[in-house]
Amino acid sequence: MIPDWLTQDNAAVPLPLGPRNNGKGFVERTIDATAGFLRDAIVSEAAAKRQGLLQALDPRVRLATLLALIVCVSLLHSPVAIWGMYLFVLLLAVASSVPLLFFIKRVWLFIPLFSAVIVIPALFNVVTPGDVLWTIGHLGQSHDFGPYHIPETISITRQGLLVALTFIGRVAASVSLAVLLTLTTRRSDLLRALVVFRVPQIFILILGMTYRYIILLVQSVQNIHTARRSRTLRYGSAGTEQRWVASRMGYLFKKTWLMSQEVHRAMLSRGFSGEGRALSVFRAGNYDYAWCLFVVLVCIGVLVLDHGVLPN
């Protein structure tokens, strides 16, 4: 039996009092941004599907050689050699049909996070004494705190700038190589390629499942918030919103736990006994061997130049 109120139109809904809250809230914006980042950074395999220099390689060779280049970069001391390697990585990206601007933006998003904070103190004569390039200010007198000496004049030094350039260049080249690897390799191939480094199959299986279910759970979170948004006429106080978010986190945790039990049952059902197994589907060819040789020569050449010719 339908109640009377369900047969009539609602009376005019009073507008919410207090501050206006149009558009998405902080939580929803954060969730959308997280989901968008995951979609772009993890799910998108557009670059990996293109024809290019790196895509044509056996994923195992791609993984091993790009890691070898990262090791090589970490052994360099000369800023010229390091930035030369960065330029080489940019050329690799272009040859692999990766949009250059997108690639540079993706890499330089991480640099301030992981290196700028560390490297800024090294610019100053407080940490790296040397030839003054630019004076920042005068303290009136020098100070000593145990083993630390604060000079009278705070300035950026040439030696400090070189340290910063070397450090940032090393991070930029290494992060670029890692990003290039993930952009040009499908996630499933990357996981399979880990076998080269004797990573146990069970870890590879777990990594693959993590990737699979992170996306699914992020979709669940988005669905929860979309469903709530579709029935929300007015937002509650900050405390109410926080309690709601906390309760959904608890719900999602429980859902994840129950899902993990079901997934384990589905694995058992298909004969899983705690041992990961996989097919070796890759075949290395002449192109791969030629690329390996090229990378070895590049590494040796750069290291020789760095240690013998270029200024440190």
Binding site: R212, Y213, V263, R270, G271
Partner: protein, 284 residues
Amino acid sequence: MKPVYELTDIHYRYHAAIPALEGISLSIFPGESVTFLGANGSGKSTLLHLLDGLIFPDSGTIKAFDEVLTEEKLETDAFRCFFRSRVGYVFQNPDIQLFCPTVFDEVAFGPLQLGLPAGEVTRRVEDTLAMLGITSLKERTPNHLSGGEKKKVAIASVLSLNPQVLLLDEPTNALDPRTRYWFIELVGQLRKAGKTIITTTHELSLAAQISSRVLVLTEEHAIAADGTAQEVIRNHELLHKANILHEHVTDTSGYFGKEHEPHTGDNVIKFPAVPAAEPRPRRS
């Protein structure tokens, strides 16, 4: 003929308190297509979990292939390989079942677990994908599949094991009409190939179309009827009591009409018998 499954007075409760199955006794024979019909919460999925040896009864006995099914027995390599290669379970939620990075890996998972040689695994995967018409999805990740595609891949991941018994939990839930019909045709082909099909559903039309035998589970978690699809689905009083049929529905004969009869094809792939798996040494 010996039954594939023989259940005697099975009782199962969740958290030792919430009843899920009460006094279930039945036998299922090779080649039968048995459907458990019941309302939501009647214990259908729990019964399939029991039949697949994923959970075990509080009391009563389950015999599978003439062996008593126990947790201890399934921990032995020899029996686990024997049982898992003969019984395949398609879960209700394909997202639970599709846990590998690609469709190829998913379909290869079972045969690899059986310890089949690489060439045979590849052949099975490719044959199964071709049979279900999903070869084009081979390199796709399950995150990028539609609901119908996920269901097809979930079925492929089980068929590649070449099981003698297929357990299908609410297989047509959330399927569009075209995929639903495709599924009914597939079951027809698998029946023709001699597979034993055990399905749970609350859809009368599906039960009518795919079953040689229908059992009704009541909301009290017991079996209320066991008969042919015609006998059970035409018994409106029984279906009303089991809360499967709405009181206003008085005619179910349409479910048996010609337009509902599935076509059966002959393009069923035949896998060679699974070689007897050699028990691997236990890791210390």
